[in-house]
Amino acid sequence: MTDASDGLTMVDAINRALHEAMAEDDTTAVMGQDVGVNGGVFRVTEGLIDDYGVARVIDTPLAESGIVGLAIGMAMNGARPIAEMQFSGFSYYALAQIENHAARIRWRTRGAHTVPLVIRMPYGAGVRALEHHSESREVFYGHMPGLKTVIPATPARAHALLHAAIRDPDPVIFMEPKAVYRQMREPIADDAEPAQIGTSRVVRRGKDLTLVSYGAMLHRALEAAETLAAEDIDIEVIDIETIAPLDAETIAKSVGQTGRLLIVNEAPPSYGAAGEIAMRVIEQEFYALRVPIRRVCGWDVHVPFFAREQTYLPSVDRIRGAARAMMAD
């Protein structure tokens, strides 16, 4: 592992959180395809099998529904499973287990059984991958009652949020923006505290416009905000981190001050997180809005093969264009 003083990549940070969780609680287990001997296809689970053995670090057969079903059963019987879907694009095989059981067992058994389960999955475009390796389908999970869905944007937040997800008494979908996996480094203190699931985070203060994003697009949002400062547009940037349950208060409070809301994410716009965020703000701060809410998202299409994936993704230019237009409105 990289020395913490150098700063950790998101891969290193998640790996460290996994090592810490495995060391803290010997009912914690990791399961998935290639997570053991191979250390995961992105090396996120590197070294775990050497330290904790094959009973707790399970190289499973190739079956996503089986992996999640197994993990649900383990969670019901006193273990703390952390399942990996190799790519979010392959997690759909497990949707039935997640919707039918992970999200419902507490409710169905009136609390007699619970599912303290984390399902990790890399998601999102921008790494020149094959078909099914670039989608952003967080609303599949955000839409399900009984499920929490978390998306960290930076290494330190990934570390803190994964710890929170592992401690959570309910199932958490933990989506990792793979475009950020090795894009940046952040130092993480030895005594770093777990984050709080269900709270949004103001990452840049500003008074003219509230720019809300998460995952890999947060960095484009921040870049847009920094460069627009030169045009005297002062932007507040919020990283929502938790898709569900959404912390609308933090966003609404900001919009109450700026009067402008721009939402950026890479999922297709229709029925997406941007719509939900906008609605929650309308419910709370409609009269504070000085201009119509805008969103810069992907498009209602399949992510093109990699030569054109950047065409699909929200660009910094598009974000800046939307912000400027809102200031001119």
């Binding site: 094959l130 054109r308 264009g321």
Partner: protein, 363 residues
């Protein structure tokens, strides 16, 4: 010992026809002409694979799954299909696709990251790659059943690997094909590894072929590096499917000589000695030896063949590069194509928004 429970007792002897030294194991009448064609396609597929790997390492292509070592398993099987039969691949069937007439330039354009490489002729019966493991298999049963409904005698060959046999879709597909009598040949290329998971850790079953028996479907194991044996077994399965609507499964025992995909590093999980052992069982070499022994091939012919293949690949890459340069000039609005038969109102609006922004950016 168990009193009431019985253990599985699979009795599969992998069928072999051609020894690694190129000699025939039985005094069969063989179709040397077809074997010669298979040889040429195997060699072409190997050289194409090598070129893809080189281009990928240079950054010209994206991630792909090499087929090295599996040429006989997939080309020997595909050679038993008629033109109107279907080939439903996973993502490691470049060899089978080439046998079926796939255009190398198309494949290159796709691997360079352009959807346009998948511009197939309408109704094409060699489908593009399926990435989500095993998901193509129930679809193969559906294609086969619909063919029967329409009175065709075309059959479907569905390709997958050892890892796919763990997915629910594999089991559902075999079960459906069995119940519906859908004419599908399920071709499993057991190459020993599902990324880092060895065959022994994929399933506690002794063989993969025996799984078909659970669904009332006949099955065979075959030496997948033996093109002749693969052809013989596949011919039987194809005839059963075509004449009787009976699906069958073939487990071709082969080996992934290369990386899982170019994003993979097998030195982390497998012993290089294993790769070397399989080197001696190279599927192309043994057919070459047979052809030489039968005076169908000599050094001069081999050299000419290598040159012809090299020229074809060079020409395909040149064409692909030309097409890619032209594609780079096309507007980004192409991503809105082929979502529906008729673009919906939201898509038309988004397309316009996109192209307005693109124009503004170019001003």
């Amino acid at each position: 010992m168990t009193a009431y429970l019985s253990w599985p007792d699979p009795k599969f002897e992998p069928h072999e026809a051609l020894a690694p030294d190129g000699t025939l194991l039985e005094d069969d009448e063989i179709d040397i002409g077809t074997l010669e064609q298979i040889y040429k396609t195997m060699l072409c597929a190997r050289r194409f694979d090598e070129r893809l790997l080189k281009l990928q390492r240079q950054g010209a292509l994206g991630t792909f799954a090499p087929i090295k070592g599996q040429e006989a398993a997939q080309i020997g099987a595909a050679a038993c299909l008629r033109e109107d039969d279907w080939l439903v691949p996973s993502f490691r069937e470049t060899g089978a696709a080439l046998w079926r007439g796939a255009d190398m330039a198309d494949l290159l354009v796709t691997l360079a990251g352009w959807n346009a490489g998948n511009d197939l002729p309408e109704g094409a019966r060699t489908l593009p790659d399926t990435v989500p493991v095993a998901s193509q298999l129930p679809i193969a049963a559906g294609i086969a059943h619909a063919g029967r409904l329409r009175g065709e005698d075309a059959i479907v060959m569905a390709c997958f690997g050892d890892g796919a046999t763990s997915e629910g879709d594999f089991h559902e597909a075999l079960n459906f094909a069995g119940v519906l009598e859908a004419p599908v040949v399920f071709l499993c290329q057991n190459n020993g590894w599902a990324i880092s998971t060895p065959r022994a850790r994929q399933t506690a079953s002794q063989t993969l072929a025996q799984k078909a028996h659970a669904y009332g479907i006949p099955a065979a194991q075959v030496d997948g590096n033996d093109a002749l044996a693969v052809m013989q077994v596949t011919q039987e399965a194809v005839a059963l499917a075509r004449d009787k609507g009976q699906p069958a499964m073939i487990e071709a025992l082969t080996y992934r000589m290369e990386v899982h995909t170019t994003a993979d590093d097998p030195t982390r999980y497998r012993d290089e000695g294993e790769v070397e052992e399989w080197q001696d069982r190279d599927p192309i070499e043994r057919v070459r030896k047979l052809l030489v022994a039968r005076s169908q091939l000599d050094d001069a012919m081999q050299e000419a063949l290598e040159e012809e293949i090299r020229d074809r690949i060079d020409a395909a890459w040149k064409e692909a590069k030309d097409r890619i340069s032209r594609l780079e000039e096309t507007p980004g609005t192409a991503m809105f194509d082929h979502i529906f038969a008729e673009p919906t109102a939201p898509l038309r609006r988004q397309r316009k928004e996109f192209s307005d922004q693109e124009e503004a950016a170019n001003d």
